[in-house]
């Protein structure tokens, strides 16, 4: 492994943009991730290969990039100018590469979309999340929401007629569930389970807090955040949180929902599908809670598609993306399992409206959801990479869920760790 790290350090660096990559013969290399089930990439490839470019522009090739080690895959490819011309990727990937001068800004593309109406088709506020100082780093592609789920059967068995609407109601529901040996705050922050961290930040955002201020500087030790973490620590101390949560993987979390030991908790919008079976049918999304500060909100990830400076033709990249966005609707209407759509026109389709959970998430959660940049802003930026799936956040989450700390100490340690990572 030491050798692997040494080797990993050897990706050739420097050299921005330029031709050569992005596909020989003018073809546009499009790399996409497995965003849904096995049908997703098959259909996505069909859509990509059906692209008929105008004269003089290159066709598109398609490549699936697995999530395993995707950061290394993209980093080494982009550094060696063998990467894609257009790709999706991690939620903060565009901002990471933008800071390295590897991203082709989408301003001209979005300007052209104003004329075609595509620009106005994006859900409110979404495009703003992609705007950095020099322009739009990427285009929103699918939304990965963090929402509060509850098991209808377990709540009913605990004598709760309606899901909670505020923090006190949530705490009361936890107490009622505990009597039936059910944990009211189901979560996990173990190996690769970043949802546990996302949930903690969601509580902060729900209370008007977050990790970054208006100057895009880390600002963790705030009254709002302290109050939010006090709330979580109270749940931990009262036994509403599974004591093993700190090291639960995503699979462990799903198995606890499946075992009906989790009654409520933050998770992705796809929890019911992931759990499946009878229990999957018992799960429902509650409305966003009102916090003591009177605010609502949660964390969300506007996953994006980005264009790279290393392209045989910027015009070709933009032409392909225009085609793709005009023809990507089947990815959502044919049940491929991809996250929520970025376009209003897709949310209005009959197929999308047939799923009440997705409709609830789009209508109630999306408008109040914030990015990592909260509370200072909505637009993402490079420094959020210091909190997205990083050791600092893992340690913070595990210390909170372990319960052997207090809010201020944990948040102060987090502040130092983020500053250290950004130094």
């Amino acid at each position: 492994m030491a050798a692997a790290t040494l080797l990993a350090a050897c990706s050739p660096s420097g050299g921005s943009g330029g031709g050569g990559g992005g596909g020989g013969g003018g073809t546009i290399k499009f790399w996409n991730m497995p965003w849904g089930n096995t049908e997703f990439n098959t259909l996505d490839e069909e859509i990509t290969k059906a692209y008929k470019p105008e004269d003089g522009l290159g066709a598109a090739t398609y490549q699936v990039i697995q999530w395993a080690n995707f950061t290394q895959t993209f980093s080494s490819a982009v550094a060696s100018n063998t990467g894609p011309a257009v790709s999706s990727g991690g939620g903060t990937q565009a901002f990471q590469f933008e800071a390295q001068g590897k991203i082709a800004y989408a301003d001209d593309l979005l300007e052209s979309w104003k004329e075609s109406g595509l620009y106005d088709d994006f859900l409110p506020g979404l495009l703003d999340t992609m705007k950095v100082e020099k322009g739009y780093a990427a285009v929103p592609y699918n939304l990965d929401m963090r929402v509060l789920w509850y098991n209808t059967t377990l709540l009913e068995a605990a004598g709760i007629s309606a899901p909670p609407t505020d923090w006190q109601g949530y705490m009361d529901a936890c107490e009622a569930l505990k009597k039936n040996n059910v944990y009211g705050y189901g979560t996990g922050a173990g190996a690769g389970a970043f949802t546990g961290t996302h949930a903690l930040v969601s509580w902060m955002i729900n209370n008007g807090g977050g990790l970054f201020d208006e100057d895009q500087k880390p600002n963790c030790v705030t009254p709002e955040n302290i109050e939010a973490m006090d709330f979580v620590l109270e749940m931990v101390s009262k036994g509403y949180v599974d004591p093993a949560s700190a090291t639960y993987t995503s699979a462990n979390v799903d198995s606890q929902w499946e075992a009906r030991t989790f009654g409520m908790g933050y998770n992705t919008g796809g929890l019911a599908n992931n759990v499946g079976g009878d229990v999957g049918g018992e799960l429902a999304v509650m409305s966003p809670l009102k916090s003591p500060s009177g605010k609502q909100g949660a964390l969300f990830f506007p996953n994006s598609i980005m264009m790279y400076t290393n392209t045989p033709s910027q015009e070709g990249s933009e032409a392909f993306l225009t085609y793709y966005y005009q023809n990507m609707t089947p990815l959502w209407t044919e049940g491929t399992g991809i996250g929520l759509p970025p376009l209003k026109s897709i949310t209005e389709t009959e197929e999308f409206q047939a799923d009440p959970t997705n409709v609830k998430i789009i209508t109630e959660w999306q408008p109040v959801a914030r990015t990592w940049a909260a509370p200072g802003g909505d637009a993402l930026f490079f420094d959020v990479t210091a909190v997205d799936g990083t050791p600092a956040m893992d340690t913070f989450s595990q210390s909170i869920l372990g319960g052997n700390t207090d809010s201020k100490t944990a948040l102060t340690a987090l502040q130092s760790a983020i500053e250290g990572a950004l130094a």
Binding site: M1, A2, A3, A4, T5, L6, L7, A8, A9, C10, S11, S13, G14, T71, Q72, S75, S76, V78, A79, Q96, F97, Q100, K102, A189, G190, A191, G192, D242, P243, A244, S245, A246, T247, Y248, T249, A251, N252, S255, Q256, A259, T261, T385, A386, G389, T390, P391, A392, D394, T395, Q398, S399, G402, A421
Partner: protein, 321 residues
């Protein structure tokens, strides 16, 4: 024979002088010669391999060395910062915490797996029914991909509904948090490493034991040696060379072991099971700080080399004795 003559001959023998008194030619008087055609031919044959060796091993190491004195990331090489990355790393509490766990993990991993491997090798030396089947079954932890075994162990210990926590609960030990409690997580990871590694040690010890002449044991028995005396005075000295080699190899395996830890705990809870290699990975690939991450890897490599040299000297000592 005069004492001086014996001493003289011993001295000659040490210098490599043969019975005939000729000995090795005096290096100082060796005639200088150019490289022969045969040597050139050999070099030409060896060149492709040497070239690949340098390309695939030396170049990355040199490049990584350069990265370790710069402040770049995976894409941007950054600026030259001298030894700052090393001093930063060596003054971080997280580095020393990871070092401490790496030492514990390595000691338990090496000696735990060696002890179990040795005992099993000794047991399997005796004829037991279906011995071949046992050998195959005992090899499974080593043969099965670590991803599979880590997933199995996660299933065994992770949740209160997992078999081991349920067993602990039934025994009145309460809700034992095998992975969520920092100390228990360290113990679990170390036990997992021993479980994964003992088949390798068993094979090493079995092959070493097979080389021990059974007549030696019979002679010792005739002299009235007990089983323990035979083990401690015959078996252990005669397998010591293989033992040291297996310790060196397992030390390298343990210090460099990433998947065992990362797949089971991810380095948590609260960094309790973060070893140096996990810390290095997280620094490079999660914090995108290539310089400090590679610096950790270099420090690790240096320590490994020192440990290996010390153990290797022990092997030489054994050979001389």
């Amino acid at each position: 024979m005069a004492t001086s003559t014996v001493t003289n001959r011993i001295e000659k023998a040490r210098k490599g002088v043969g019975v005939s008194g000729q000995g090795a030619p005096d290096q100082g008087r060796r005639k200088k010669k150019g490289i022969s055609a045969r040597a050139w031919t050999l070099l030409a044959f060896a060149f492709p391999s040497l070239f690949l060796l340098v390309l695939l091993n030396l170049y990355p190491v040199i490049y990584a060395g350069i990265q370790s004195v710069r402040d770049g990331d995976l894409i941007d090489p950054g600026n030259f910062v001298g030894l700052k990355n090393y001093t930063d790393v060596l003054t971080q509490p997280s580095f020393w915490a990871a070092t401490r766990f790496t030492i514990i993990f390595t000691i338990v991993g090496v000696f735990g797996s060696w002890l179990i491997g040795l005992v099993l090798a000794l047991l399997l030396r005796t004829k037991v029914p279906a011995g071949g089947l046992f050998k195959v079954l005992l090899l499974l932890p080593w043969v099965v991909p670590v991803v599979v075994s880590a997933t199995s162990w996660n299933w065994l210990v992770a949740t209160p509904q997992s078999p081991l926590p349920m067993l602990a609960n039934a025994l009145g030990l309460g809700n034992v948090l095998f992975l969520a409690d920092p100390v228990l997580a360290q113990v679990t990871v170390c036990v997992f490493k021993v479980w994964v590694s003992f088949p390798f040690m068993m094979m090493m010890m079995a092959s070493a034991l097979a080389a021990v002449d059974v007549n030696v044991y019979e002679a010792a028995k005739m002299d009235g040696a007990t089983n323990w005396q035979s083990f401690s005075h015959i078996t252990m000295p005669m397998i010591s060379r293989s033992t040291y080699i297996s310790w060196i190899l397992m030390t390298i395996f343990c210090v460099n072991d990433f998947p065992t830890i990362f797949l089971l705990t991810g380095g948590g809870p609260v960094d309790a099971t973060t070893s140096l290699v996990v810390l290095s990975y997280r620094t490079v690939f999660q914090n995108f700080q290539t310089g400090p991450g590679v610096a950790i890897a270099f420090v690790m490599t240096l320590v490994l080399v020192i440990v290996s040299v010390v153990l290797y000297r022990q092997i030489r000592k054994v050979n001389i004795e």
